[in-house]
Amino acid sequence: MYVRLFAASWLLFCAVLAVIAWGFQAPFAYDPVGPRAYPLLLLSLMSAGSLWLVIKPGLLEQTLNTRAAVRAVLCVLALLAYALLFEVLGFVISTTLATFALGLLFTGRPLPCAISAVLMGVLLYSLFDYLLDVPLPLGLFEAFVES
């Protein structure tokens, strides 16, 4: 059932992409193929595959578990918040918040999670920024650090 749903929506998506791909035209012909043929070929093959799956989805043992789904959505939200706040708050604060939230989501108890979150924020920052030379955003700390 879910496979059918996915395949059907993928088919629609392919159709939309095909319409977009139709517009790919080079102002000059550099090669006999051009930029349009290959994506269209892929899209048509994908549509054929989706059609097959709509007709014969096969067996799937997965069932939708509401509790698991809610947790997955929460997890995605936490990750998104982490990504969006990464530059604004800076690595240390955003990492501490995100790891704390994720820790709780993965059935950790609050206090140990908080401790590990703070440690991870600070230690990983020093590891990456000083030892491995990966520049990370400072965010709110920017004001304190003279550079």
């Binding site: 990504a83 999670c113 990983l124």
Partner: protein
Amino acid sequence: METLNFLMQGFEVATRPENLLVALFGAFVGTIVGLLPGLGPINGVALLLPLAFALGLSPETALILLAAVYLGCEYGGRISAILLNVPGDAAAVMTTLDGYPLARQGKAGIALSLSAVSSFIGSMIATCGVVLFAPILANWAVAFGPAEYFVLMIFAIACLGGMVGDKPVKTLMAALIGLALATVGVDSTTGVYRFTFGSVSLSDGIQFVIVVIGFFSVSEVLLMLEKTHNGQKAVKASGRLLFNFKEFCFTFWTMVRSAVAGFVIGVLPGAGATIASAMTYMTEKRMAGPNGKFGDGDLRGLAAPEAANNASACGSLIPMLTLGVPGSGTTAVMIGALTLYNITPGPLLFEQQPDVVWGLIASLFIGNVILLVMNIPLVGLFARMLSVPNWVLVPAITVISMVGVYAVHSTTFDLVLMIGLGVFGYILRKLDFPLSALILGFVLGELMEDNLRRALSISAGDLNILWGSPISLCLWALTALMLALPGLRWWRSRRAAQLANA
């Protein structure tokens, strides 16, 4: 003779202090990543790839690091398989069948040490195979023109569909999605923007690191939400810690046979360690007949898959190095790593970058010795890693993934894109689409289009060039065979069922 000279040159590269250090580090990290349930070689390589790039490692050092991680994962997967009955990576599924019963019988120490030696023998035999066959294949591959390359890549994708077996349509779909993702960005021949939706960040395509980390790390985090295996306790290794000579002799030929088989399977594009270990296990079981205690702790049932999965990991480096076509998901990631360094893998690599190729091959030998030495005494330490709770592990994986992606372009857009791809990957995995096919498609995508268009430019648009030469005809025939395989298997199983009913 020439090969030997090159190999010596390779050893010179591989024994440079920084490369030795990197191999040691990679082997250690690889073993840990391998033994953590859910994290496999692709994740290990994906997590370290941006780091290697950000650290400014030279290409050969970076490749040595990734190869050490790859091998290390194949070593590490068995530890959790034996002690927890949870395979650390997909290829270790067969190891659980006999490894865990052995551990339950108080023979965990024997099982761990014997499987380490099997892994060692498997990789060593396969590495010798790489030394022997890679240069030959590379010489041969010079004859490949763009048309042959294009057909070869089609063959690689067909192989995936034919070998992974029970869901060929989904596998091919996943590969196609990967190919389609690779078309995003500016078209290199004409400068036309494709599927960028007006976004500047997408104009040079979706970065490889983002795809890998999104599809593998982020979706893994989401999958881990469901299985909390906290309730399970590792079996304590007690009693004799090392196998004895008799046990070694008993399993020796099993190891050699499985290593050779694993190597051959590894060389085939598309078929990876998982298939190799399953096939050799079945073969050994059939060969042993009723005398074997397969499933209740037969040492041969432990040695076979372990030798095979390591051998196939090494074997899959051959198509990667000589043809530039990956043999497994992990080597696909490694090809991506090479392209980040502006090195195009392929037959010319042996002439133009002998340091990279032979340094890598020599480092396989060294990495193996390091892993064997590390794995036998340190197994207790590694086993303790299994007790790291998920609420520490998962956030740590998340942070490292974020940093890895951020290090490429330093934009928030990439982070959000990574999460988007991760969610998409999670849905695909829930629906049983194999993601390794997707990543293979993504890596091959640009190469495939380039070769197709180059071939058609040569022939001025005449499609006949695609089946004009004996090599490409042969590859088309093999492709057809591979595509027919699932149908054939389905037909045979149906007939067997009919015979059974009659």
